[in-house]
Amino acid sequence: MKKILLVTLALLVSLFAFASDPNTLVNLTIGEPETLDGMHSYDTASGEVIENLYDNLIQYNGQSVTEFLPMLSTEVPSVDNGLVVEEDGALKYIFPIREGVKFHSGNILTPADVEYSFERYILGDPAGKAHWMIIEALTSSAFYTVEDWFADYAGMAYSDAVNADRNPISDEAKAKLVSFYEEVIDPRIEVVDNTVVFTLDGPFGAFLNIVCHFGSWGAIVDSKLAMERGDWDGKADGWWKWHDLEADEYAFHDFGGGSGPYKLVEWDRAQQKVVLERFDDYWAGPAAIKNVVIWGVDEFSTRKSMFEAGDADIAYFDPVYLDQALALEAQGKAEVTTGYPVSSITSLHFNWLIAEGSEYLGSGKLDGNGIPREFFSDIHVRRAFAFCYDGITFIDEVINGLGKLVPTDLPEGYLGFDETLPLPEFNLARAAAEFKQAWGGEVWNKGFKLQILYNTGNNSRQTVAEMLSYFVSSINPKFKVEPLGVQWPTYLSAQNNGFLPMFIIGWVADYPDPHNFISTYYASFGTYAGRQGQLFREWAIENVDDEIVAAIKATDSAERIKLYKSVQEKAIEFTLGIPLYMPVGLHVESPQVDGWYPQTARSGYYYYHLSKSE
């Protein structure tokens, strides 16, 4: 018995250490894709797979996010080359489509595929997904969802036109639905000869960024295959049957339908693995690496061990564990790149009018045991809190220097970024001075009590909350700020209901344009406006909304820079929030991997650029 055991053990051990295979690249990451169809994709894990499986019309030039190169379109439209044309205030973008491009299925890509792809996304438009971008661009910010667009056209709510079983409620509704497609959607994206023409209601500065490669919402799909697989048939009659379905009800949820450099072998959702194989007929030539395995390994120690043992070529390291990556680099087991920009901002904003019913305000009165709902509408309170954030220590100690202080919620490198603007300052004396002025001195005399929520599991947000709590409380013993960790569902609920006195939140760019950050954080119609309360909205409408709208419509860069600078100056003056930090990248690869470079618009890795030496 013992002998058998020993022999088995020896056998098992003797078989270890397979030589690393230069044809196979293993990327250890966290999480896994939600879907492989551009329809539901709005997360980086899905985006990473889709950008390798699909091509877009155009692509970025190397690390730049402002210069474009052709992809499936043989040219990048511009006013100069005559492919951007203005007609009665509308703007037409003309994309000449590359000929002879093959999909993985063997089908040849045609301009009709491009038209189908975009119309499918717009009509599908699942709740909470990415297609608001293209709708906003096409309609000059008039609409964000196809349902609203339809409601505006038909004069009836979408839910009054289509019932829960996805059938039109009346003949009248059906006629409206059909004509909505024929009259509104279809003409927006039209095939003309060998080109596809997009018609925008007006100038939209970020349009090319939105359709550019790495954006899964602009991925061109194989329309024949889609129809074969039961997706939208391309017809006006019945498009609503494919509107807002569940992710797995779309054709390419777990099936490759693109023309990109890699084709899908298997998406093993149980093992959290996506296995890709080189597409040998890729129009720009086959990729260097034959097999790619994208593997979600959520446990950090496991991920690191596997990378260290040479069982993986790329591994995700959280900034907190930079030291561990550097230790591997010192042993020659890794190459670490840090400091490149990643198009993201983490900041803290205040709620100027906390919704009624919030449990996080203590007594709800300024009596030393709570705060009134309008607490943060006083600029001195906001300023005082901002002076209590020790950004330099935070960046050095908590995120190991993998971040930068920025003046506002606009990342470095973006149009309108201005390094002459003042950075957040840590100054407890000034904080005390501001507190003394706040609420006519009542804050200082009576003190207050509130809770800062963070969703547990996020170390940086927790530390920010603790840091503010620590320094605010240290100014005056009557100030009580309690950090409170809650689970994500509770946090989400509190956030949606406007219960949070202040919130720490990040924003990852959808497309690399300042509009995506400025409007999100500062506009009264921005994504985060609701969480900052009605009083903030009123302020924004009065002070910044006009400039933000003007900036996205402006075509001239200098004009846009001027407008964005003005908005940012107001954001600083009124202390709309504390721009906590701008994360910078951390990339860890094995020394055998070559060809990687940072690109802020990309999700994860684009394996076409990579190669592996023996």
Binding site: S301, E308, V320, Q324, G485
Partner: protein, 293 residues
Amino acid sequence: MAVKRKSEFRKIMKKYWKNGTAVLGTCLLVFFIIVAVFAPQIAGVNEMGNNYQIPRVSWSSKPIAPTSEHPFGVIGGRDIFYGVVWGTRTAFRLGLIITGFSALIGVAIGSISAYFGGWVDEILMRIVDIFLSIPFLVAAMVMTTILGKGLDKVIIALIIFGWMSTARLIRGNILQAREEQYVLAAKALGQKDWKIIMKHILPNTIFPVVVQMSMRIGSYVITAAGLSFLGVGAEPGYADWGTILSYSRNWMTMLNESWFAIVFPGTAMVLFVLAWNLVGDALRDIFDPRMRS
């Protein structure tokens, strides 16, 4: 009679003290009780507020090796010594409250079920089956989401899903005891049902429950640590051994820099669980008549 009980008790104690592992367990427990009682004197208090919140000594979450100021080192910005010492209180609170309340519920349901039998028994036992069939982790996770994060919520969740085995145990024991002479006699004398349960049956069936409880106190500390690992345990920074161990989770591959974050809370936990189990084992050996020779 009283004299006899006393000598019986003395005999039991004599037996108990002769059992080497039992003595070891008791000594460990006494040690932990002392640490728990004198936690403020041993490790100080948190001047910023709640004593069960380990004070932050560094904004960085990196492990810092033991120094004279932080004898067990620092991880996650928290002083491990403070966490281990105050964590003793947490461990007792956790273990005693959970076992206490779940035993109460279990005893109540088990005795009602066994004594009345019939449809009462049928319904209660089906309820036990249903609760047993709900995967504990799911129950605990959903419960903590409903109730909110925090150790007290974990305790509630563990009580709600921890009483069933006691109920079954007590029911089985009572069913046996019900046939015993003294119960039949009491019944024949026309005593009330609840009186019979309280006076005659429970005292004779409670010992296995006590033994079971003493063994489970330790294991609840581990369960709570597991929940911390899954992100539904105590709030971050809480003075709890499992929480500190969770901090060390991502530094485990660098043991030379983080060993103290595993060794100190880990040892405390092992010894605590060990102590209860040793005591429980000894109690069982003494009280379980089948184990007597």
